[in-house]
Symmetry: C2
Subunit: 203 residues, 2 copies
Protein backbone atom coordinates (compact mmCIF):
# COMPACT_ATOMS: atom_id res chain seq x y z
CA UNK A 1 0.00 0.00 0.00
CA UNK A 2 1.21 3.45 -0.91
CA UNK A 3 1.62 5.78 2.04
CA UNK A 4 -1.09 8.34 2.48
CA UNK A 5 1.44 10.93 3.61
CA UNK A 6 3.39 10.44 0.40
CA UNK A 7 0.30 11.17 -1.68
CA UNK A 8 -0.48 14.26 0.34
CA UNK A 9 3.11 15.43 -0.11
CA UNK A 10 2.81 15.00 -3.87
CA UNK A 11 -0.46 16.92 -3.94
CA UNK A 12 0.86 19.88 -1.99
CA UNK A 13 4.18 19.81 -3.84
CA UNK A 14 2.37 20.00 -7.18
CA UNK A 15 0.61 23.14 -6.05
CA UNK A 16 3.76 24.74 -4.65
CA UNK A 17 5.90 23.94 -7.70
CA UNK A 18 3.15 25.16 -10.01
CA UNK A 19 2.77 28.47 -8.23
CA UNK A 20 6.38 29.22 -7.38
CA UNK A 21 8.49 27.14 -9.74
CA UNK A 22 11.21 24.73 -8.72
CA UNK A 23 13.48 27.41 -7.29
CA UNK A 24 10.69 29.43 -5.72
CA UNK A 25 9.21 26.46 -3.88
CA UNK A 26 10.88 25.35 -0.66
CA UNK A 27 10.62 21.88 0.77
CA UNK A 28 10.23 23.38 4.24
CA UNK A 29 7.14 25.31 3.11
CA UNK A 30 5.67 22.22 1.43
CA UNK A 31 6.12 20.18 4.60
CA UNK A 32 4.81 22.99 6.76
CA UNK A 33 1.59 23.03 4.72
CA UNK A 34 1.08 19.45 5.94
CA UNK A 35 2.07 20.19 9.51
CA UNK A 36 5.32 18.30 9.11
CA UNK A 37 8.99 19.20 8.92
CA UNK A 38 11.11 19.20 5.80
CA UNK A 39 13.02 16.20 7.13
CA UNK A 40 9.82 14.19 6.90
CA UNK A 41 9.72 15.11 3.21
CA UNK A 42 13.35 14.15 2.75
CA UNK A 43 12.61 10.86 4.49
CA UNK A 44 9.93 10.03 1.92
CA UNK A 45 11.51 11.36 -1.26
CA UNK A 46 15.25 11.57 -0.70
CA UNK A 47 15.69 15.03 -2.21
CA UNK A 48 13.83 18.00 -3.63
CA UNK A 49 14.87 16.97 -7.13
CA UNK A 50 13.39 13.49 -6.74
CA UNK A 51 10.16 14.89 -5.34
CA UNK A 52 9.93 17.16 -8.37
CA UNK A 53 10.51 14.20 -10.66
CA UNK A 54 7.67 12.27 -9.07
CA UNK A 55 5.38 15.26 -9.38
CA UNK A 56 6.14 15.50 -13.11
CA UNK A 57 5.65 11.76 -13.56
CA UNK A 58 2.23 11.97 -11.93
CA UNK A 59 1.22 14.81 -14.23
CA UNK A 60 2.46 12.89 -17.24
CA UNK A 61 0.37 9.90 -16.18
CA UNK A 62 -2.71 12.05 -15.75
CA UNK A 63 -2.31 13.64 -19.18
CA UNK A 64 -1.91 10.28 -20.84
CA UNK A 65 -4.84 8.64 -19.06
CA UNK A 66 -7.04 11.52 -20.16
CA UNK A 67 -6.21 10.76 -23.77
CA UNK A 68 -6.76 7.05 -23.31
CA UNK A 69 -10.17 7.70 -21.84
CA UNK A 70 -11.10 9.99 -24.71
CA UNK A 71 -9.89 7.43 -27.21
CA UNK A 72 -12.44 4.89 -25.98
CA UNK A 73 -15.28 7.26 -26.83
CA UNK A 74 -17.07 6.24 -29.99
CA UNK A 75 -17.76 8.69 -32.86
CA UNK A 76 -15.42 9.42 -35.72
CA UNK A 77 -11.77 10.30 -35.13
CA UNK A 78 -12.21 13.98 -35.99
CA UNK A 79 -14.92 14.72 -33.43
CA UNK A 80 -13.14 12.49 -30.93
CA UNK A 81 -9.99 14.61 -31.20
CA UNK A 82 -12.01 17.80 -31.25
CA UNK A 83 -13.82 16.78 -28.07
CA UNK A 84 -10.58 15.79 -26.38
CA UNK A 85 -8.93 19.12 -27.16
CA UNK A 86 -11.96 21.07 -26.06
CA UNK A 87 -12.18 19.10 -22.82
CA UNK A 88 -8.53 19.99 -22.29
CA UNK A 89 -9.66 23.59 -22.36
CA UNK A 90 -12.85 23.11 -20.34
CA UNK A 91 -11.15 21.12 -17.57
CA UNK A 92 -8.46 23.72 -17.09
CA UNK A 93 -9.63 24.77 -13.63
CA UNK A 94 -9.26 21.26 -12.26
CA UNK A 95 -5.88 20.87 -13.92
CA UNK A 96 -4.64 24.43 -13.44
CA UNK A 97 -1.59 23.39 -11.42
CA UNK A 98 -0.67 20.69 -13.90
CA UNK A 99 -0.79 23.12 -16.79
CA UNK A 100 1.26 25.76 -15.02
CA UNK A 101 3.85 23.18 -14.09
CA UNK A 102 4.09 21.84 -17.63
CA UNK A 103 4.72 25.35 -18.90
CA UNK A 104 7.31 25.96 -16.19
CA UNK A 105 9.02 22.73 -17.10
CA UNK A 106 9.22 23.83 -20.75
CA UNK A 107 10.75 27.13 -19.65
CA UNK A 108 13.21 25.56 -17.22
CA UNK A 109 14.14 22.83 -19.62
CA UNK A 110 16.96 24.77 -21.19
CA UNK A 111 18.73 24.80 -17.86
CA UNK A 112 17.61 21.38 -16.67
CA UNK A 113 18.19 19.62 -19.98
CA UNK A 114 21.70 18.55 -19.06
CA UNK A 115 20.54 16.61 -16.05
CA UNK A 116 17.14 15.52 -17.33
CA UNK A 117 16.78 11.91 -18.35
CA UNK A 118 13.04 11.47 -18.69
CA UNK A 119 10.89 13.33 -21.20
CA UNK A 120 7.63 13.39 -19.36
CA UNK A 121 5.68 15.05 -22.15
CA UNK A 122 6.81 12.89 -25.04
CA UNK A 123 4.28 10.07 -24.58
CA UNK A 124 1.57 12.71 -24.37
CA UNK A 125 2.59 14.43 -27.60
CA UNK A 126 3.04 11.09 -29.34
CA UNK A 127 -0.46 10.03 -28.32
CA UNK A 128 -1.89 13.29 -29.62
CA UNK A 129 -0.16 13.02 -32.99
CA UNK A 130 -1.36 9.41 -33.24
CA UNK A 131 -4.91 10.61 -32.74
CA UNK A 132 -4.31 13.32 -35.29
CA UNK A 133 -3.31 10.78 -37.90
CA UNK A 134 -6.57 8.92 -37.49
CA UNK A 135 -8.42 11.93 -38.83
CA UNK A 136 -9.41 11.59 -42.52
CA UNK A 137 -6.85 13.34 -44.71
CA UNK A 138 -4.15 13.19 -42.03
CA UNK A 139 -3.33 9.46 -42.33
CA UNK A 140 -0.24 10.04 -44.42
CA UNK A 141 0.89 13.28 -42.82
CA UNK A 142 4.54 13.44 -41.84
CA UNK A 143 5.42 13.52 -38.15
CA UNK A 144 6.36 17.17 -38.39
CA UNK A 145 3.04 18.15 -39.94
CA UNK A 146 0.95 16.33 -37.37
CA UNK A 147 3.05 17.62 -34.51
CA UNK A 148 2.90 21.19 -35.79
CA UNK A 149 -0.87 21.06 -36.00
CA UNK A 150 -1.22 19.55 -32.54
CA UNK A 151 1.25 22.01 -31.10
CA UNK A 152 -0.58 25.08 -32.35
CA UNK A 153 -3.84 23.99 -30.79
CA UNK A 154 -2.50 22.97 -27.40
CA UNK A 155 -0.42 26.16 -27.49
CA UNK A 156 -3.58 28.21 -27.79
CA UNK A 157 -5.18 26.18 -24.99
CA UNK A 158 -2.25 26.25 -22.56
CA UNK A 159 -1.42 29.89 -23.08
CA UNK A 160 -4.98 30.87 -22.29
CA UNK A 161 -5.10 28.53 -19.30
CA UNK A 162 -2.16 30.13 -17.50
CA UNK A 163 -3.29 33.67 -18.25
CA UNK A 164 -6.40 33.79 -16.09
CA UNK A 165 -4.96 35.72 -13.13
CA UNK A 166 -3.27 38.24 -15.39
CA UNK A 167 -6.26 38.76 -17.66
CA UNK A 168 -8.59 39.21 -14.69
CA UNK A 169 -6.28 41.85 -13.24
CA UNK A 170 -5.77 43.58 -16.57
CA UNK A 171 -9.30 43.73 -17.85
CA UNK A 172 -11.44 43.00 -14.79
CA UNK A 173 -13.53 40.06 -13.71
CA UNK A 174 -16.48 40.78 -16.00
CA UNK A 175 -14.38 41.24 -19.11
CA UNK A 176 -12.64 37.97 -18.35
CA UNK A 177 -15.99 36.21 -17.97
CA UNK A 178 -16.99 37.41 -21.43
CA UNK A 179 -13.65 36.27 -22.82
CA UNK A 180 -14.09 32.89 -21.18
CA UNK A 181 -17.55 32.60 -22.71
CA UNK A 182 -16.46 33.29 -26.26
CA UNK A 183 -13.25 31.27 -26.12
CA UNK A 184 -14.56 27.71 -26.58
CA UNK A 185 -16.50 28.56 -29.72
CA UNK A 186 -13.47 30.24 -31.28
CA UNK A 187 -11.31 27.34 -30.19
CA UNK A 188 -13.66 24.85 -31.80
CA UNK A 189 -13.57 26.84 -35.02
CA UNK A 190 -9.78 26.89 -34.84
CA UNK A 191 -9.55 23.13 -34.35
CA UNK A 192 -11.97 22.42 -37.18
CA UNK A 193 -10.15 24.75 -39.53
CA UNK A 194 -6.96 22.96 -38.65
CA UNK A 195 -8.32 19.45 -39.11
CA UNK A 196 -9.99 20.39 -42.39
CA UNK A 197 -6.67 21.60 -43.71
CA UNK A 198 -4.36 18.56 -43.85
CA UNK A 199 -0.95 18.89 -45.49
CA UNK A 200 -0.46 17.87 -49.08
CA UNK A 201 0.30 14.15 -49.31
CA UNK A 202 4.08 13.63 -49.19
CA UNK A 203 6.03 12.27 -52.08
Amino acid sequence: MVSNTRMRFLEVATRHFAENGFDGASIAAIARALGLTKQALIHHFGSKEKLYGEVLQQISDRLLSQIIQANVGADDPATRLEDLLLSLHEDRDGRADDTRLVLRELLDNKRRAERATNWYLKPYLDALTTLMRQVPGWETARDAEALAAVYQIIGAIYFFAISEPTLVRMFGERAYDRLETTYPARLRALIRACLRNPPAAPG
Copy 2:
Protein backbone atom coordinates in the same frame (compact mmCIF):
# COMPACT_ATOMS: atom_id res chain seq x y z
CA MET B 1 23.20 60.30 -21.17
CA VAL B 2 22.12 56.92 -19.92
CA SER B 3 24.88 54.94 -18.27
CA ASN B 4 26.39 52.21 -20.40
CA THR B 5 26.78 49.96 -17.37
CA ARG B 6 23.07 50.26 -16.68
CA MET B 7 22.22 49.08 -20.17
CA ARG B 8 24.61 46.15 -19.90
CA PHE B 9 23.05 45.24 -16.56
CA LEU B 10 19.58 45.24 -18.14
CA GLU B 11 20.78 43.08 -21.01
CA VAL B 12 22.37 40.45 -18.80
CA ALA B 13 19.51 40.57 -16.31
CA THR B 14 17.00 39.88 -19.10
CA ARG B 15 18.89 36.75 -20.02
CA HIS B 16 19.26 35.56 -16.45
CA PHE B 17 15.62 36.20 -15.52
CA ALA B 18 14.46 34.53 -18.73
CA GLU B 19 16.51 31.41 -18.15
CA ASN B 20 16.15 31.03 -14.40
CA GLY B 21 13.07 32.99 -13.43
CA PHE B 22 12.92 35.71 -10.80
CA ASP B 23 13.71 33.37 -7.90
CA GLY B 24 16.26 31.32 -9.79
CA ALA B 25 18.27 34.34 -10.90
CA SER B 26 20.62 35.93 -8.39
CA ILE B 27 21.81 39.51 -8.54
CA ALA B 28 25.30 38.36 -7.59
CA ALA B 29 25.43 36.09 -10.66
CA ILE B 30 24.12 38.86 -12.92
CA ALA B 31 26.79 41.25 -11.67
CA ARG B 32 29.49 38.60 -11.88
CA ALA B 33 28.67 38.12 -15.57
CA LEU B 34 29.71 41.74 -16.04
CA GLY B 35 32.79 41.47 -13.82
CA LEU B 36 31.14 43.56 -11.13
CA THR B 37 29.80 42.92 -7.65
CA LYS B 38 26.15 42.73 -6.69
CA GLN B 39 26.50 45.99 -4.78
CA ALA B 40 27.22 47.73 -8.08
CA LEU B 41 23.88 46.41 -9.31
CA ILE B 42 22.14 47.60 -6.14
CA HIS B 43 23.76 50.98 -6.63
CA HIS B 44 22.21 51.33 -10.08
CA PHE B 45 18.79 49.79 -9.51
CA GLY B 46 18.07 49.90 -5.79
CA SER B 47 16.75 46.37 -5.51
CA LYS B 48 16.28 43.12 -7.39
CA GLU B 49 12.56 43.84 -7.67
CA LYS B 50 13.18 47.22 -9.29
CA LEU B 51 15.70 45.73 -11.71
CA TYR B 52 13.11 43.15 -12.69
CA GLY B 53 10.55 45.89 -13.21
CA GLU B 54 12.85 47.76 -15.56
CA VAL B 55 13.56 44.58 -17.50
CA LEU B 56 9.83 44.03 -17.98
CA GLN B 57 9.31 47.64 -18.96
CA GLN B 58 11.99 47.35 -21.62
CA ILE B 59 10.37 44.23 -23.03
CA SER B 60 7.00 45.92 -23.03
CA ASP B 61 8.49 48.84 -24.98
CA ARG B 62 10.08 46.51 -27.52
CA LEU B 63 6.83 44.63 -28.08
CA LEU B 64 4.90 47.81 -28.59
CA SER B 65 7.41 49.40 -30.93
CA GLN B 66 7.35 46.28 -33.06
CA ILE B 67 3.61 46.73 -33.52
CA ILE B 68 3.96 50.41 -34.27
CA GLN B 69 6.55 49.66 -36.93
CA ALA B 70 4.32 47.03 -38.50
CA ASN B 71 1.39 49.41 -38.44
CA VAL B 72 3.20 51.85 -40.68
CA GLY B 73 3.54 49.20 -43.40
CA ALA B 74 1.06 49.77 -46.21
CA ASP B 75 -1.19 47.00 -47.55
CA ASP B 76 -4.60 46.14 -46.23
CA PRO B 77 -5.19 45.60 -42.50
CA ALA B 78 -5.59 41.83 -42.81
CA THR B 79 -2.22 41.16 -44.42
CA ARG B 80 -0.64 43.76 -42.19
CA LEU B 81 -1.80 41.86 -39.10
CA GLU B 82 -0.93 38.54 -40.69
CA ASP B 83 2.59 39.74 -41.43
CA LEU B 84 3.01 41.14 -37.96
CA LEU B 85 1.96 37.88 -36.31
CA LEU B 86 4.16 35.83 -38.58
CA SER B 87 7.13 38.10 -37.93
CA LEU B 88 6.46 37.52 -34.24
CA HIS B 89 7.06 33.88 -34.97
CA GLU B 90 9.97 34.32 -37.34
CA ASP B 91 11.87 36.68 -35.04
CA ARG B 92 11.61 34.34 -32.10
CA ASP B 93 15.35 33.59 -31.95
CA GLY B 94 16.21 37.24 -31.54
CA ARG B 95 13.49 37.71 -28.94
CA ALA B 96 13.79 34.32 -27.25
CA ASP B 97 14.59 35.79 -23.84
CA ASP B 98 11.75 38.28 -24.08
CA THR B 99 9.26 35.55 -24.88
CA ARG B 100 10.42 33.29 -22.10
CA LEU B 101 10.25 36.13 -19.63
CA VAL B 102 6.74 37.11 -20.70
CA LEU B 103 5.59 33.54 -20.15
CA ARG B 104 7.30 33.41 -16.78
CA GLU B 105 5.64 36.65 -15.80
CA LEU B 106 2.24 35.19 -16.69
CA LEU B 107 2.99 32.15 -14.55
CA ASP B 108 4.33 34.12 -11.62
CA ASN B 109 1.58 36.66 -11.81
CA LYS B 110 -0.71 34.79 -9.46
CA ARG B 111 1.84 35.24 -6.72
CA ARG B 112 3.09 38.66 -7.74
CA ALA B 113 -0.33 40.09 -8.45
CA GLU B 114 -0.73 41.54 -4.97
CA ARG B 115 2.37 43.68 -5.29
CA ALA B 116 2.22 44.40 -9.00
CA THR B 117 1.10 47.85 -10.05
CA ASN B 118 1.97 47.94 -13.72
CA TRP B 119 0.46 45.67 -16.35
CA TYR B 120 3.29 45.58 -18.82
CA LEU B 121 1.45 43.49 -21.39
CA LYS B 122 -1.78 45.42 -21.49
CA PRO B 123 -0.72 48.09 -24.01
CA TYR B 124 0.59 45.28 -26.22
CA LEU B 125 -2.65 43.32 -26.12
CA ASP B 126 -4.68 46.50 -26.61
CA ALA B 127 -2.63 47.39 -29.66
CA LEU B 128 -3.13 43.94 -31.12
CA THR B 129 -6.89 43.98 -30.63
CA THR B 130 -7.00 47.44 -32.18
CA LEU B 131 -5.24 46.05 -35.24
CA MET B 132 -7.64 43.14 -35.24
CA ARG B 133 -10.60 45.46 -35.40
CA GLN B 134 -9.27 47.12 -38.52
CA VAL B 135 -9.67 43.86 -40.41
CA PRO B 136 -12.82 43.75 -42.55
CA GLY B 137 -15.61 41.96 -40.71
CA TRP B 138 -14.02 42.59 -37.32
CA GLU B 139 -14.84 46.31 -37.02
CA THR B 140 -17.83 45.75 -34.75
CA ALA B 141 -16.45 42.77 -32.83
CA ARG B 142 -16.75 42.98 -29.06
CA ASP B 143 -13.57 43.35 -27.01
CA ALA B 144 -13.84 39.77 -25.82
CA GLU B 145 -14.12 38.40 -29.36
CA ALA B 146 -11.15 40.32 -30.68
CA LEU B 147 -9.06 39.49 -27.64
CA ALA B 148 -9.95 35.80 -27.83
CA ALA B 149 -8.88 35.64 -31.46
CA VAL B 150 -5.62 37.46 -30.79
CA TYR B 151 -4.94 35.34 -27.75
CA GLN B 152 -5.27 32.05 -29.57
CA ILE B 153 -2.80 33.04 -32.21
CA ILE B 154 -0.13 34.49 -29.95
CA GLY B 155 -0.69 31.47 -27.72
CA ALA B 156 0.25 29.17 -30.58
CA ILE B 157 3.26 31.36 -31.36
CA TYR B 158 4.56 31.77 -27.80
CA PHE B 159 4.06 28.15 -26.82
CA PHE B 160 6.08 26.99 -29.79
CA ALA B 161 8.74 29.61 -29.17
CA ILE B 162 9.55 28.44 -25.66
CA SER B 163 9.50 24.76 -26.59
CA GLU B 164 12.57 24.64 -28.79
CA PRO B 165 15.01 23.13 -26.27
CA THR B 166 12.49 20.52 -25.16
CA LEU B 167 11.42 19.57 -28.67
CA VAL B 168 15.00 19.24 -29.84
CA ARG B 169 15.80 16.94 -26.91
CA MET B 170 12.63 14.91 -27.36
CA PHE B 171 12.61 14.38 -31.08
CA GLY B 172 16.13 15.24 -32.18
CA GLU B 173 17.65 18.12 -34.09
CA ARG B 174 16.54 16.96 -37.53
CA ALA B 175 12.95 16.34 -36.53
CA TYR B 176 12.86 19.79 -34.98
CA ASP B 177 14.21 21.33 -38.18
CA ARG B 178 11.38 19.74 -40.14
CA LEU B 179 8.88 20.98 -37.57
CA GLU B 180 10.34 24.47 -37.79
CA THR B 181 10.02 24.34 -41.56
CA THR B 182 6.38 23.39 -41.63
CA TYR B 183 5.29 25.62 -38.77
CA PRO B 184 5.04 29.00 -40.53
CA ALA B 185 2.80 27.69 -43.29
CA ARG B 186 0.43 26.09 -40.81
CA LEU B 187 0.53 29.23 -38.71
CA ARG B 188 -0.39 31.36 -41.69
CA ALA B 189 -3.30 29.06 -42.44
CA LEU B 190 -4.40 29.33 -38.82
CA ILE B 191 -4.29 33.11 -38.84
CA ARG B 192 -6.20 33.36 -42.12
CA ALA B 193 -8.84 30.92 -40.92
CA CYS B 194 -9.20 33.03 -37.83
CA LEU B 195 -9.44 36.37 -39.63
CA ARG B 196 -11.87 34.98 -42.18
CA ASN B 197 -14.14 33.89 -39.35
CA PRO B 198 -15.26 37.04 -37.54
CA PRO B 199 -17.93 36.81 -34.86
CA ALA B 200 -21.55 37.52 -35.66
CA ALA B 201 -22.30 41.24 -35.37
CA PRO B 202 -23.49 42.01 -31.84
CA GLY B 203 -26.97 43.24 -31.04
